[in-house]
Symmetry: C2
Subunit: 322 residues, 2 copies
Amino acid sequence: MPQPPFSSSPKIDVLISEVGPRDGLQSIATTMPTMNKMRWLDALAAAGLREIEVASFVPAKLMPQMADAAEVTKHACTLPGVTVMALVPNLRGANAALQAGAQKLTLPVSASTAHSLANVRRTREQMIDDVRSISQLRQDIAPSARIEAGISTAFGCTLQGVVNEDDVIRTAVLCANAGADEVGLSDTVGYANPAQVRRLFRRLRMELGPRAGAAHMHNTRGLGLANCLAAYEEGVTTFDSSQGGLGGCPFAPGASGNVVTEDLVFMFEAMGVSTGIDIALLREARAALQAGLPGEPLYGMVHEAGLPKGFIQSMDFLSKEA
Amino acid sequence: MPQPPFSSSPKIDVLISEVGPRDGLQSIATTMPTMNKMRWLDALAAAGLREIEVASFVPAKLMPQMADAAEVTKHACTLPGVTVMALVPNLRGANAALQAGAQKLTLPVSASTAHSLANVRRTREQMIDDVRSISQLRQDIAPSARIEAGISTAFGCTLQGVVNEDDVIRTAVLCANAGADEVGLSDTVGYANPAQVRRLFRRLRMELGPRAGAAHMHNTRGLGLANCLAAYEEGVTTFDSSQGGLGGCPFAPGASGNVVTEDLVFMFEAMGVSTGIDIALLREARAALQAGLPGEPLYGMVHEAGLPKGFIQSMDFLSKEA
């Protein structure tokens, strides 16, 4: 009798989607050597990460850090139990990502027109057209691949300030109608607060049901984990974060941009919410990251402070080993 | 017709209890000059803080930073609209604090015997006896003063690890029975998680009703604001924090021990939960703090990143001025 894929994986309550290899590495000037990227991905997979955004399929001229996107994606596809995700800014990128074997594409669609023009030089409407053409491409060449739209600046924008909540939800619905399998909300600039997170994800789930996607929160103003908690309590089960807080435009010394994977995993595991991630092995993945970027500052409160005395991870496969 | 005290103050939803002048200043080696302490307190009051823990009444030999506790307390009592709070470790300290005019006393009672012996060289039972004798003293010499017991290590202890939740609640109830007007829970070492915070404050409120007191959370593992959010959602309305994250045993560079007042106020105000605190004036208070402790590292993500573009504080008195 055929087994469903990854049937041996223990059940998890939330999916932590590691974005460091894409969002993190594209944010810093240094380019991590391909071999180190692969070792880091191996270590992340070994720690139990089940979804990793491994690369961005953009022109190497614009982003030399991602010149090896296809090679890295192909390697990631050899890792058992990992959904290999790639960011694609347009149809050309989507084609390259699917050719390389990416199992899930994520396309950023900004709720703020000002941000959309500044970020990708295209209007929101043009980006939604891209979702449609990418969905068509997927039908044609890789029907099992999934497509996510991430609504950026969903909680505010450094250019236009407040972003109308109706606009955010309308954009999300248009993306779903254009063929996105799931639509997440991104706090691109760290403006979100827990009340707003609850409101928007509640509306998103009302509109899209199971196609309501991930919470991508930033920790720019210290509210990253509080916002993830609020999203979790509204039923969100997928959370983006990056190891060591790499990327996501940190403003301040000691301040991370992206929510730190280690801290997020600790929060959920301490609450008894299973992530499937082994915190001790996650620490080893951090060493692999640091080996590929010597001297690059990494963040994380749990990494610095250590685990509480007597802390026991409530993981099925850990207890099986014990 | 007589007016209730501070009737001109706008209504607030949560009370931020600033502990920096006590918890912060006693944690660092440098002693802030008395004049600077007074200026900082003035600035905190001007920013809208309504409860400030201004000093610890301990022997100056043990804690020279607090040698001017009586003088500082007397000055704080001249500030309109501020409840002047003092930490007292025993009956002798309580007497001195009440003589100086303190309007509220806080007594730490550890849920962990190991911590209690290490911290104050007394058992939990002896500390509860102190609550009783201090309550009696209050009846005799300052009947309008209030007494708070703060249950330290309520969420875990670096010495004994896990602290039994029944023990925490039992200790809180014993403190209330011994005469404490309110009993708060303190995450002394930064072990708390939001699920635990919800459980314990829910039980505390079930047992003590309106005598359930403040949440004193630390940010050692990055969960400070998430834990405050969880407590708020369980009905807690008083939150301890310290300006610039001063004190509370920070472990790491860039890591605060105590929850940072600026970040906490920002979270609540962004959610539309009124604190009565003017964030711009709070920034000026930070300058007064820094002036009294040149070179001392201060923390705070909102201070570094700034307020979101278009951010408007939902404060009664601000809108009146507009």
